[in-house]
């Protein structure tokens, strides 16, 4: 099966010394949904930003390769890189309230990538947008295309963002906590929608989340990140049955079970944290010696 | 982070020192004007008319920055002009500040009908072209230092009133004001003891900026021959004469202009520097 995204040995540092991502390896295959979990600040969003080339200016990629559908992104000119990214990858952002441009109508915000970057005809792009809006169950897509973002609800906007992400038939979609800003009911709908669309289009999906419950529902494989270091990379079944890393096991225990709401939240034991930190240091040492 | 902050601090420091230095220099020049000036600023001498500044051929010693068409020494006139410029800056600036800030405080703290009245007045004032208003006032009151000061106060009090009103509204909404009132202070005493000290930094900044503006207004009025009597040297008056003969004797325009430019720039840089200094974010 095709691997749509391959990240090899990716190191991102703040300034010249402080690592944010440490030799990250990560693969997402066609039709696969990979969960990317880790605590806040672990560097999950930075992986997405490194792929899209939108890292904050203070951060730099110091080593590694990012291969998107056979293209080594680092070896391309910025212009070419942007075109490939626009054609082959898409982002589903976290907060639907801020991810749409308030002064433009919805229609152009879905079709602009198709027209400007991929050179579609306007009419074709419009038809495509209508079709997609219909796929994400937006009523009266014609009217919605003419609306401004503030006229629509948060759930609607997130579905529009999902539709927009699939517009160019991308190989890879990165969803960065697409449901955290939504209320529980809408969350479920959006999750279902994402999964449905991903299946229909056979896209590779990298799903960034804090929520292991969500991971268990939609992912086939999982990557656990701690302080920029990949601690675990395995299949879902394996992960929930017997995680290989103690940190993963602690993370599992720390997640409240849906079946047993009374179970108290278990913090990750400090011994586990210490062990993980030790691994981070070991990784840094290896790199210093090189 | 700390490095960046230190850098900002240093920049502010340089700015404050330069502008403060120039203004101090001006104050000294104004005080010791008769000692510094190489010539009598009013002495006309047609034999020395339109002498170029010292580095140009044909210059005369004793006229370092040249002379104007009536043979008066440019440097001496600039030095004596400093007296008027600075008097106007300090006196007009202070009075404008007192009047405007008081009205702004009252409007912002008491709200209600005083605010209505003052705000409406400000609106009306904003609909006047300020320069024309000042010229009109001088024409009505006659030329002279007092008229200029009054004109500046009358046209510019709104600058203070608007800003201080907004600040006072913001301050009144804070908790400590409410608690001061609960503690039994009178409204006036709360205004002076609780609100005023908190808007003082803003007032200081505005005052500094206003002094620069006063200098400009004075020279604009001199420029249209409506400032002090015509035989007193003022920067604006010199600029006005220099403008007429700019093709024959550029130095008559350039030196007073440069002085005015630096002075206005210094006042405003000093004001901006103070603003940054008071800004709690940078502390």
């Amino acid at each position: 099966m095709n691997t749509f995204l391959t990240i090899e040995d990716l190191t991102v540092t703040l300034g010249t010394s402080c690592p944010i991502l440490r030799s990250v390896n990560l693969k997402v295959k066609a039709e696969e949904v990979r969960g990317l979990v880790g605590e806040s600040g672990a560097g999950k969003s930075m992986i997405g930003k490194a792929v899209f080339g939108t890292l904050p200016t203070a951060l730099r990629i110091t080593s590694g390769r990012i291969i998107l559908d056979g293209e080594d992104l680092q070896s391309l000119s910025p212009r070419e890189r942007r075109r490939i990214i626009g054609a082959k990858a898409a982002l589903i952002p976290q907060d639907p309230l801020t991810a749409l441009n308030p002064s433009r109508r919805i229609g152009p915000q879905i079709t602009n990538r198709l027209v400007d970057i991929l050179g579609w005809h306007k009419a074709d792009a419009r038809l495509r947008a209508l079709e997609l809006l219909d796929e994400v169950h937006i009523p009266e897509p014609e009217r919605v295309m003419r609306s401004y973002p503030h006229e629509l609800s948060g759930g609607m906007r997130q579905r529009i963002l999902i539709a927009s992400a699939f517009a160019a038939k991308p190989k890879l979609i990165i969803a960065d906590e697409p449901t955290t800003a939504l209320d529980v009911i809408v969350q479920k709908q959006v999750l279902q929608m994402t999964k449905e669309m991903q299946k229909r289009h056979g896209t590779a999906l990298l799903f960034v989340t804090h929520d292991l419950g969500v991971v268990s529902k939609i992912c086939q494989s999982i990557t656990v990140l701690y302080n920029g270091l990949v601690l675990e990379d395995t299949s879902i079944a394996q992960f929930f049955k017997q995680p290989s890393h103690p940190y993963s096991a602690a993370l599992l225990r720390a997640t409240p079970k849906y079946t047993d709401p009374d179970s108290s939240l278990m913090p990750v034991p400090s011994a586990v944290i210490r062990a993980a930190d030790e691994e981070v240091r070991a990784c840094d040492r290896i790199h210093q010696n090189v | 982070m700390d490095n960046a902050r230190a850098q900002i601090k240093r920049k502010i420091g340089v700015r404050l020192w330069l502008s403060g230095g120039w203004l101090t220099f001006l104050v000294l020049a104004a005080i010791f004007a008769p000692l510094i000036s190489p010539q009598d600023p009013l002495a006309q001498d047609l034999f020395t008319s339109r002498l170029p500044p010292f580095w140009v051929d044909g210059a005369e010693p004793g006229y370092p920055l040249g002379s104007d068409s009536l043979g008066r020494d440019v440097l001496s006139r600039i030095v004596f002009g400093t007296r008027i410029a600075l008097s106007v800056a300090f006196i007009a600036g202070t009075i404008t500040c007192l009047l405007g800030a008081t009205l702004g405080l009252i409007a912002g703290y008491f709200r209600g009908w005083p605010d209505m009245l003052i705000s409406r007045l400000v609106d009306i004032w904003m609909a006047f072209p300020p320069v024309l208003f000042a010229i009109l006032l001088i024409a009505v009151m006659g030329t002279g230092l007092t008229s200029i000061i009054i004109a500046i106060v009358v046209i510019d009090w709104t600058r203070f009133a608007r800003v201080i009103r907004a600040e006072a509204i913001g301050q009144s909404a804070m908790d400590y004001v409410a608690s001061a009132q609960v503690a039994g202070r009178t409204r006036f005493s709360t205004m002076f003891r609780e609100i005023l000290p908190n808007v003082l930094p803003t007032i200081a900044v505005l005052l500094t900026l206003e002094m620069g503006i006063a200098v400009i207004v004075e020279s604009i009025l001199s420029f249209v021959n409506l400032s002090i009597s015509t035989d007193q040297p003022t920067w604006g008056g010199m600029i006005s004469e220099g403008r007429v003969s700019v093709h024959q004797a550029w130095w008559v325009l350039i030196f007073p202009l440069l002085t005015l430019f630096l002075t206005v720039l210094s006042f405003s840089q000093l004001g901006e520097g103070l603003k940054d200094h008071f800004d709690p974010v940078l502390k």
Partner: protein, 336 residues
């Protein structure tokens, strides 16, 4: 309904403001100690001549009476008669208004163009030395008023490198019959670009002097506003779609960054128009402001009143226009 109410309220406050301006000008100039009539007559004129002229201009009545006579005249479009030229004030004022409007509008365009360009350039090159340089230049431009910039420009482009005219509106040697007073506009309409070029080379320096402080304000506000906008999610999202920096700044960030800048620019534009008074004087440009100063010096009371009222009217109209534009551009206001 609420919208109509809002507009009515605006019109009401506008008229209160204009009325206030009228009252103030009227009474301020009547405190004049010197009698304007006596200045018009040769020394030693007959008492009865003075009285006759006073009656002619209405100066023999009480001040409130004069005010209401004048006000009712204004309501009917009669601003009185100029004392110095004996012509109707309205005609005089309207003959100079086009010159001032052209100057102000050209200055506004210059300011928007320069300020907008600087804001975009320093956003594009943020973090580089260029940004720092633009900031310093901006600070200078902000703290020096138009009058001084005018003088600096006179020296630079009138004397040191004389490429532009530094006085007048059009070269007197040009023999061209204008149908309107909008010379600049008319020269373009009639395709006389030689005339147009002459007008521009007269107008450029005064317009630039007026534009510099406003350009600096626009640059500063717009840059700040762009900076905040550039961090927003929708801007990042458009980057992930494959758009480059230029598109992101101009298409995504700019439309949203303009709005907060706009209202402030409106107020500043009225300051710019106020600045034409002294700038026209400085460049001997035959507009309303230059006429106003002459009127003050000649104590031509009806003319002064007329000009000040006209300025106040322009200011309030500009403010209203800005508010309406703001409402029209803001999609949130547009759709209730």
């Amino acid at each position: 309904m609420t919208r109509i109410k809002r507009i009515l309220l605006r019109l009401l406050t506008m008229s209160i403001t204009l009325f206030g301006v009228a009252v103030i000008v009227f009474f301020v100039i009547r405190v004049v100690p010197g009698n304007p009539i006596s200045m018009m007559l040769p020394p030693g004129a007959q008492e009865e001549d003075i009285a006759r002229l006073q009656a002619l201009y209405g100066f023999d009545r009480s001040i409130p009476e004069q005010f209401f006579i004048w006000l009712s005249g204004v309501m009917q479009g009669d601003l009185g008669t100029s004392i110095t030229t004996h012509q109707p004030v309205l005609g005089l004022v309207l003959s100079r208004l086009p010159a001032t409007l052209e100057l102000s509008v050209v200055a506004l365009f210059l300011a928007v163009f320069i300020g907008g360009f600087l804001a975009l350039a320093s956003t594009r090159m943020r973090g580089t030395r260029v940004e720092g340089m633009i900031d310093v230049a901006n600070g200078m431009a902000l703290s020096i008023p138009d009058f001084l910039w005018g003088l600096v420009l006179v020296l630079l482009f009138g004397v040191l490198w004389p490429v532009f005219h530094i006085s007048g509106r059009i070269s007197p040697t040009l023999d061209f019959q204008f149908q309107t007073k909008f010379y600049l506009f008319e020269s373009v309409m009639r395709l006389r670009f030689d005339i147009w070029l002459d007008l521009v080379s007269h107008m450029f320096l005064p317009a630039l002097a007026l534009a510099i402080p406003l350009a600096a304000i626009i640059a500063q506000l717009l840059k700040q506003s762009l900076k905040e906008t550039m961090h927003l999610d929708y801007v990042t999202l458009s980057r992930t779609k494959g758009y480059g920096e230029n598109h992101v700044i101009i298409q995504e960030a700019l439309p949203n960054a303009i709005l907060p800048t706009l209202t402030l620019v409106g107020v500043q534009f009225t300051f710019l128009i106020g600045g034409t008074v002294i700038i026209e004087r400085l460049f001997s440009y035959e507009g309303l402001g230059n006429m106003a100063i002459d009127a003050v010096i000649n104590r031509d009371l009806p003319l002064i009143q007329g000009i000040v009222i006209l300025f106040a009217l322009i200011f309030t109209i500009v403010n209203l226009a800005v508010d309406l534009t703001y409402a029209a551009l803001n999609p949130k206001l547009r759709h209730g």
